[in-house]
């Protein structure tokens, strides 16, 4: 699945997007954040305060408990500050 990062999550991870294949046990948005955080120090830093990070599944806001099965595009970003 394709993962996108924005704002300081993107800066900390060090890339804007990538394609990953998480193992079978990674079922929810929260699972995916935990799995990503364990990849290396950059990811650990990006996801150190996971409660503030927002996610979107296929361009729609999603809660941490949302199932990721079938999603083509998952995005992680800080709280929005537009307008």
């Amino acid at each position: 699945m394709k993962i996108l990062y924005f704002a300081w999550v993107r800066e900390r991870v060090g890339k804007a997007e990538e394609t990953v294949e998480p193992p079978a046990g990674v079922a929810t948005v929260a699972d995916l954040m935990e799995w990503l955080a364990g990849r290396d120090e950059a990811y650990a830093y990006a996801f150190e305060n996971r409660r503030v990070i927002r996610a979107a599944l296929d361009q729609t806001h999603a809660r941490p408990e949302a199932a990721i099965a079938g999603a083509r595009e998952i995005a992680f970003f800080p709280p929005m500050t537009g307008g």
């Binding site: 996108l4 924005f6 704002a7 929005m80 500050t81 537009g82």
Partner: protein, 159 residues
């Protein structure tokens, strides 16, 4: 409905004119223009860069315009949000709402701005005189957006 995400500046007067066209049933036009300020909470801002999530930004704004149209009898809505680098005094965002009556146009414009602030995937990074930093979300904005979940629909029929 017009929703655009663009790097270029916008012209509020031209957007209003395009939206009205030759209609004569519109009694109230509300425009909101958000402008890049030269200071934020007392810290000077030399410039800011607005990052966005292409695709989702348009879709999210369109969803909220559809919701505004369901809540209030609107005759036209335009939302334009810029991205890229802006300096103080530059326009950032434009919301135009039109209705027969003023209460509906005001309410819809406030609703859309509150949601743009808290739900549309845009992020501001401000450049100070020496450093740059991402703007943090404000609790006030969440509270402003939350009031629409509780409040009902049209506010009256004043024109």
């Amino acid at each position: 409905m017009t929703v655009r995400i663009q790097r270029e500046p916008f012209d509020p007067a031209a957007e209003v004119k395009a939206l009205i066209g030759r209609r004569t049933d519109i009694g109230a036009v509300v425009t909101f223009t958000g402008i890049c300020r030269g200071a934020d909470d007392g810290k000077p801002v030399a410039a800011m860069t607005l990052e966005h999530y292409p695709g989702m930004a348009e879709a999210e704004i369109e969803r909220h315009v559809v919701e505004a149209q369901a809540r209030w009898p609107l005759m036209g809505v335009t939302v334009i949000h810029r991205h890229g680098r802006m300096v103080p005094g530059d326009d950032i965002v434009l919301v135009v709402t039109m209705s027969s009556h003023r209460g509906d146009a005001f309410a819809a414009a406030e609703f859309l701005m509150d949601y743009l602030k808290t739900r549309a995937p845009f992020w501001k990074k401000e450049e100070g005189p020496e450093e740059a930093g991402w703007v943090t979300a404000k609790a006030d904005d969440d509270a402003a957006a939350a009031r629409w979940a509780a409040a009902g629909t049209a506010t009256g029929s004043q024109d």
